[in-house]
């Protein structure tokens, strides 16, 4: 019981980390959009690939604020996926095979839906 509680606390910490990172990115994007002179196009919608390239290019332009906000939103959207994956590893560590199966089914359905939605 105590071991299970330890894993649950760790999953709680993971969720908190996801929320913290996404909040910082969204707040940074909003602040940058407020103070930069050139306003970004509000209907700008990058794909995941464009988002990654834009964030790792090291260049800043009028879209950087929006990219930061989108990055925050995507981190938040990925947090439940990581939560299910963390639960899967927790059940594996507990050798709770029935719930390893349950978590695997949930994770596979989620990833399947994600791949389908991004096609």
């Amino acid at each position: 019981m105590e071991r299970a509680k330890t894993y649950e606390r760790r999953i709680g910490l993971l969720l908190r980390a996801g929320v913290a990172v996404s909040s910082v990115l969204m707040a940074a994007g909003l602040l940058l959009a407020t103070f930069q002179s050139a306003q970004p196009a509000v209907d700008y919608n990058p794909t995941l690939r464009e988002l990654l390239i834009g964030l790792t290019s090291g260049q800043t332009n009028e879209s950087t604020a929006l990219l930061l906000m989108f990055a925050g939103l995507v981190v938040l959207m990925l947090t439940p996926f990581l939560r299910v994956l963390a639960a899967l590893f927790a059940f594996l560590a507990e050798k709770n095979w029935r719930f390893v199966g349950v978590a695997t089914v949930v994770f596979c359905i989620l990833v399947g839906q994600l791949i389908y939605s991004l096609q």
Binding site: A27, M69, L73, M77, L78, I109
Partner: protein
């Protein structure tokens, strides 16, 4: 975006986050009408923002509730299987029933659920008295009553069937399934109200995550609007977890009944 618009979105987010986290229903049912009617945001963008807001509510609430031992993680994971399958099967239901018919069915079920919860709350003068000889036994420290609450879960197939329906309706009507899951866990499975709300909170983020990427890939997610609303929701969610610590399970059930009646009325007169 003007400062007024930002503050409006932030405030709407705080209210939706507080209620959503407290009751385990995500907050989308409040946020979508608010964004469309008050903030004047197009419906698709409002739904996309609301879905990301549900993830924010779920992640923030669950992180605190897991630490407090309120979430029944194993039972929640089992119900998630039914919920995600229900969400995928949404397209099948859409072929059989029209949108307005579904909305009316949804409103009627909400009304009946509210009446059942009302009857349970009225008969249950001393708060939750859960059984402890079923499956998924768990316990938590209830700060409001100053006692350790022990409980277990019964009627698992019935609760899974309701979760399947909840997932189905989430996909079809763009609403969180928490409004179904919490009463199902409380009334059918016999979980204490606080544990039911916390476990629902834990689950709803997963259902919303898959839909969120669909809206993102279709370009319906407006980063500025969503960021402002979601930051408000995150603040509201923290507030919701603080209120949850002080509130009694019975009071929570009464608030839930009131909210169910409001949702039902909103659906009938939509």
């Amino acid at each position: 975006m003007s400062l007024e618009s930002f503050l409006l979105l932030l405030t709407g987010g705080v209210v939706a986050g507080t209620i959503g986290t407290l009751l385990g229903i995500g907050g989308g049912l409040f946020l979508v009408p608010f964004l469309v009617l008050v903030a004047g945001i197009p419906v698709h963008q409002a739904i996309a923002t609301s879905i990301v807001a549900v993830i924010a509510t779920s992640s923030t609430g669950a992180s605190v509730y897991l630490e407090r031992g309120l979430v029944n993680m194993r039972f929640g994971m089992l119900l998630e299987v039914a919920t995600v399958i229900g969400a995928i099967a949404g397209g099948l239901t859409a072929n059989v029933l029209s949108g307005p018919t579904l909305t009316k069915i949804f409103a009627t079920v909400m009304m009946v659920t509210a009446l059942l919860m009302l009857r349970r709350s009225a008969n249950n003068k001393h708060g939750d008295a859960p059984e402890t000889n079923g499956a998924f036994a768990s316990e938590f420290n209830d700060d409001a009553s100053g006692s350790v609450v022990r409980y277990s879960v019964k009627n698992i197939p019935g609760t899974m069937a309701i979760s399947l329906l909840a997932g189905n309706l989430s996909g079809l009507l763009g609403i969180g399934g928490g409004a179904f899951k919490v009463p199902a866990m409380h009334l059918l499975s016999g979980m204490p109200m606080k544990a039911a709300a916390a476990t629902s909170n834990f689950m709803i983020g997963v259902t919303a995550a898959a839909s969120a990427f669909i809206y993102f890939s279709h370009g319906h997610l407006n980063a500025v609007l969503a960021s402002a609303a979601v930051l408000g929701v995150l603040g509201g969610s923290f507030l919701g977890t603080r209120i949850s610590r002080r509130i009694h399970g019975k009071t929570l059930a009464w608030i839930f009944v009131g909210v169910l009646f409001l949702i039902s009325a909103q659906m009938f007169f939509r």
